[in-house]
Symmetry: D2
Subunit: 86 residues, 4 copies
């Protein structure tokens, strides 16, 4: 997931959230709104996974190659924990 | 969570997603972006919970009171399943 | 999901957890152990969904039919929240 | 989380699952059983996080130090994805 891809995904997510807003304004059926909430959550999860992947491949790897991986690994695991908790 | 509250939350989430976009544009640190992703996920989860709560309190309850709860309960559980899967 | 089905699933989950224990004892590869952890999590999620479904179909419905659904709905939403948080 | 700690946690989880079984046998209240399911899920999540942490600190780090991190990173991200999906 490169920068351009990430930006496109975030733009789509922004559109989906605006769509949610509209559904609420128009008093659409709760379950349909919830389905849309779940699909925004899935899209955000994909963005989070892309960021994690990129982070491990670059920042964490470079730190380890320079013999300084400890802090990065700590930070990474904290981020995975927050991410997996939702 | 009433309609106004829901709209406010969605507006804030939209702003948070725009913030994410900006962070990516400015090449901010992956872990900081991920922390923001986790906080949007938490905000969306709160919205989903509010919608579920409202749905159970009104639609599901009314259907049950009218002796027609079966389909609503089915639909509800499917929505909870999608929601809990993220 | 009836009582017998629930008991069978829990027995299988107990066996899976014992399997995890064995994998750790034998120093198996972390990623394989993690894959097994994910599959126990999925099995537990299915049990939780079955319990929720049963709860809504019986306890919540009966309370609503007796005009006393408020506390049940509150309790249900708290349980869904804990459950969706994992 | 060392091997001994992991084994202790898994033993406790096994006991918790047996406890769940007993609760079902005794027809305890669904919501109480669900609360126990959520606490087993939390305990398993902690085990999964411990395994991931250990995996990154040892296997992934060593592979990267030997210039062969690609496959390990791929494998790691797949495991995180499965894990975060529950």
């Amino acid at each position: 997931m490169n920068k351009k891809d990430l930006q496109d995904r975030l733009r789509r997510i922004e559109g989906q959230v605006r769509g949610l807003h509209r559904m609420v304004d128009e008093d659409q059926y709760c379950i349909d709104i919830l389905t849309q909430v779940s699909s925004v959550q899935a899209a955000l999860k994909a963005v989070g996974m892309g960021l994690l992947d990129d982070h491990v491949r670059h920042c964490v790897r470079e730190s380890i190659e320079q013999g300084q991986g400890d802090q990065k690994v700590e930070e990474l695991m904290a981020a995975v924990g927050r991410f997996a908790g939702r």
